[in-house]
């Protein structure tokens, strides 16, 4: 009995703490425009060598963070991403909610796409969007294909239902079916 109460109390503390983590963030980000310094390989092909690895120290800070994801969702409309990519299904630009990636689906690749643009019509937002906000957008783009934790991804919005909310979208590869 005692242990049970203790367990319950522990749970009561643990759940909110976990909840806090999903919101944890740097409240004083570098205000300057500018960009993450790492170069991002634009291909996975390197003659004879290892697959080039994509990793950026900033990635972990933004992925699966509820605050950043919800900011990313707001910015996706604010910077007219939705004008070209609709609510993820695509239009003038490709669909972002499927599991097909031209330039890579890692958060680092998506960050590079937004920052530098891509040749067939993706504009470069380098001079318009501060770096941290580009990371937020990149994290949200991953949520569109079901690649963010359900606990952190945005839920129902107030607009016309374009598709199920991001925290209910299935992973694009499996579409919710077990393999």
């Amino acid at each position: 009995m005692k242990t049970r109460v203790l367990l319950l109390m522990l749970l009561c503390v643990a759940i909110p703490v976990a909840g806090c983590e999903r919101e944890e963030r740097n409240t004083r980000p570098d205000p300057a425009l500018g960009s993450s310094e790492q170069g991002v390989p634009v291909t996975t092909l390197a003659p004879g060598g290892e697959r080039p690895s994509l990793s950026d120290t900033k990635a972990a800070e933004f992925e699966n963070n509820a605050y950043h994801l919800s900011e990313g969702k707001r910015l996706f409309d604010w910077f007219n991403c939705s004008g070209c990519h609709a609510n993820g299904g695509g239009g003038m630009g490709p669909a972002l909610m499927d599991d097909k990636w031209i330039y890579g689906g890692s958060i680092e690749s998506i960050h590079a796409t937004i920052r530098d643009g891509r040749p067939n019509g993706m504009p470069s937002f380098r001079d318009r969007i501060p770096d941290d906000q580009i990371w937020e957008l990149a994290a949200f783009v991953r949520a569109l294909s079901g690649n963010a934790s359900k606990a952190a991804a945005p839920s129902r919005n107030d607009d016309m239902m374009a598709h199920p909310s991001e925290n209910r979208l299935p992973n694009a590869t499996t579409l919710g079916k077990s393999p």
Binding site: N80, G83, C84, A86, G88, G89, K100, G121, D159, H163
Partner: protein
């Protein structure tokens, strides 16, 4: 110009109308049969294009609309109702491009010319040799980045031939002249800027010594214009904007609009919130017709931007309307606004067919326009007066046109705005009919209209203007219209202001139409069927399944062997087909500005890939 069939029996009313009629009482029926005696005109009575705008057919096809009157009517009759069933493939040709093929092939002498969607390759095929081998190809190499600012697939609606040269425009905003014989570039003028969202998709028109061409970009806050370029060296002679002060719209002393709503100084500025006209759309991306006798060109203007109407109170002149202009100077003679303060993206850029006809006993020079907002307009083309505006498809966004004031009567229940979801608006943003041009036969007096049957839900949202990115401010979700079929092909009886017959299609009919003196009408479906139907009854006479959905414009020509040929480009795409060419994800109902939602099953019905098909009798 005699009509082959007797007055009324030959004017069929099929399908639904037939059943409805059958349900009526005998009395009503006898009234219907007595129709002609009670003032019904036989459809073909005295309707014909002005000869100066539609000269006798020489068997060539030198501009997409066939002639300045834009009839898309061929006088060839070797292929006719009785033998079209035996039509077979003469040759095919892959364009190598997997985007939407909206262009009309051209035939000049013994050469066929086709221009592809981006990257806008111009091919010349030698019709004198078996299989029509390639003579040359010309690659203008437009900037790849232009693809990102083309609102609705990277289409091109065709080239035009004049005086030894082929003229066309590239997606990245260049107008190009190419020597028709050698394929060498004669001149190349950059007139559009992709970094503010400008592209060019329309087919130019050559009038006298000028090439007329306008810009696209109504979904990116691009200010619309039409330019006249010198045929010899490509320099810009005049530019007429669709918004802004009168001197930039080329409105001066000659401007005499028929209705009060279009009269006043600088309406292109005062009918907008401050400075909104600078990013207000009104793009000239559709069709131009020309009347050599009146010496006037006619062209429409596109939707105002952004789509969310709350962000631009006012009539938003001179968007969603039509101008008559002097081709030499660009000076405007009249203007009429189809859709003042447009709320639903009803671009006013469709084709206008120039005809001379008796209207209520009076001979009139008219212009017939099946318009995006769902009405077939008949205008007096000398003044811009509206003689008639009757719906040809499902319309609930408006309640008709007030013929006193000329104004469209909007339906307050379908008024869109910020934060509000309005359901079941018909027609959709893509219109009862979009760019896909209709054809007119003087033998039947009917206008053959390829079109859609779609409705939509809309929600206005806030939007920021960032140059070179979309400026729409509307969530849209389209769906099939009444009856569940998404396309229609309507033969419109112009004189009697009503349909003669209608065909239903599963998908929107996004191809152009062609009608011939053999009384055969040709059009294509998005599944890929190329169809020949009777011009009088609509009865299906022949069909052939091409490799991809058809959204191109069919043509008829006389080959070097003296025989009649029918040609069409197959290759799905365009706004309606963007779900296939852009591989969009229909789980998002707003994909492709809402069109993907209505086309969820198109990926199962067809694949992208451009090919020319040419047919002849065995």
């Amino acid at each position: 110009m005699s009509r082959r069939s007797p007055a009324f029996e030959g004017e069929p009313v099929i399908g639904l109308r037939c059943k409805v009629l059958a349900a009526f009482t005998a009395g009503l029926l006898s009234f219907a049969v007595l129709g002609p005696a009670l003032g019904q005109q036989s459809p073909g009575a005295n309707i014909a294009p002005p000869p100066a705008a539609a000269p006798a057919d020489d068997g060539q096809w030198t501009m997409p609309a066939k002639n300045y009157a834009s009839t898309r009517y061929s006088e060839l009759s070797e292929i006719n109702e009785s033998n079209v069933g035996r039509l077979q493939v003469a040759f095919t040709f892959s364009t190598g491009v997997a985007k939407g093929h909206e262009a009309a092939p051209l035939v000049v002498g013994a050469t066929m010319y086709i221009v592809t969607p981006f990257p806008n390759i111009l091919y010349a095929l030698d019709l004198t040799k078996p299989g029509a081998p390639m003579k040359w190809k010309f690659e203008p190499k437009p900037e790849p980045a232009a693809q990102g600012v083309a609102c609705c697939d990277v289409v091109n609606r065709g080239a035009v031939f004049s005086n030894g040269r082929i003229f066309f425009a590239t997606l990245d905003g260049h107008a190009v002249a190419v020597d028709a014989e050698t394929g060498e570039q004669v001149w190349n003028t950059k007139i559009g800027n992709i970094n503010i969202g400008e592209t060019i998709t329309m087919a130019p028109l050559v009038v006298k010594d000028k090439v007329l061409v306008g810009n696209s970009g109504g979904e990116l806050g691009v200010r619309g214009w039409i330019k006249a370029l010198d045929v010899d060296d490509g320099h810009v002679v005049w530019t007429a904007y669709s918004t802004g002060p009168d001197n930039e719209v080329l409105i001066g002393a000659e401007f005499k609009p028929f209705y009060e709503m279009d009269q006043g100084r600088d309406l292109g500025v005062t009918s907008w919130p401050p400075d909104a006209w600078k990013i207000g759309g009104g793009n000239v991306w559709g069709w131009i017709s020309y009347d050599p006798e009146l010496d006037l060109i006619y062209h429409g203007t596109g939707n105002p931007g952004p789509w969310n109407p709350d962000l631009r109170p006012g009539d938003n002149k001179w968007t969603a309307g039509i101008f008559a202009r002097d081709p030499d100077t660009g000076s405007a003679h009249w203007f009429y606004q189809w859709t003042p303060h447009d709320q639903h993206d009803y671009d006013g850029i469709n084709e206008q067919i120039l005809l001379d006809m008796d209207w209520q006993g009076q001979p009139r020079k008219v212009l017939v326009r099946p318009e995006r907002n769902g009405y077939v307009y008949v205008l007096d083309r000398t003044t811009g007066e509206v003689l008639s505006a009757k719906p040809f498809g499902a319309v609930n966004s408006s309640k008709g046109v007030d013929l006193e004031t000329g104004r469209l009567i909007e339906n307050p229940e379908k008024k869109t705005g910020t934060g509000k979801v309005v359901r079941d608006i018909c027609p959709t943003a893509s219109g009862a009919k979009d760019w896909q041009p209709s054809a007119f036969s003087p033998r039947t007096g009917l206008l053959y209209i390829p079109h859609s049957n779609l409705c939509m839900d809309e929600q206005g949202v806030e939007v920021n203007y960032i140059a070179g990115t979309p400026y729409v401010g509307m969530n849209v979700r389209m769906k099939p219209g009444p009856g569940g079929h998404r396309g229609e092909f309507t033969a419109w009886d112009i004189a009697n202001e009503k349909p003669a017959w209608k065909l239903k299609e599963n998908f929107p009919v996004w191809s152009g139409a062609l009608v011939t003196a053999g009384d055969v009408v040709f059009y294509g479906t998005m599944e890929g069927w190329f169809k020949a139907v009777s011009a009088r009854t609509g009865e299906l006479l022949w069909q052939f399944k091409t490799s991809s959905g058809i959204i191109g414009q069919p043509i008829a020509y006389r080959g070097p062997d003296g025989h009649e040929y029918i040609a069409v480009l197959s290759g799905v795409g365009g706004w309606a087909g963007a779900i296939v060419t852009g591989d969009l994800d229909p789980r998002d109902a707003t994909a492709a500005l809402g069109f993907a939602n209505a086309m969820r099953d198109l990926k199962d019905a067809t694949n992208a890939g451009g090919a020319l098909y040419v047919f002849r009798l065995p």
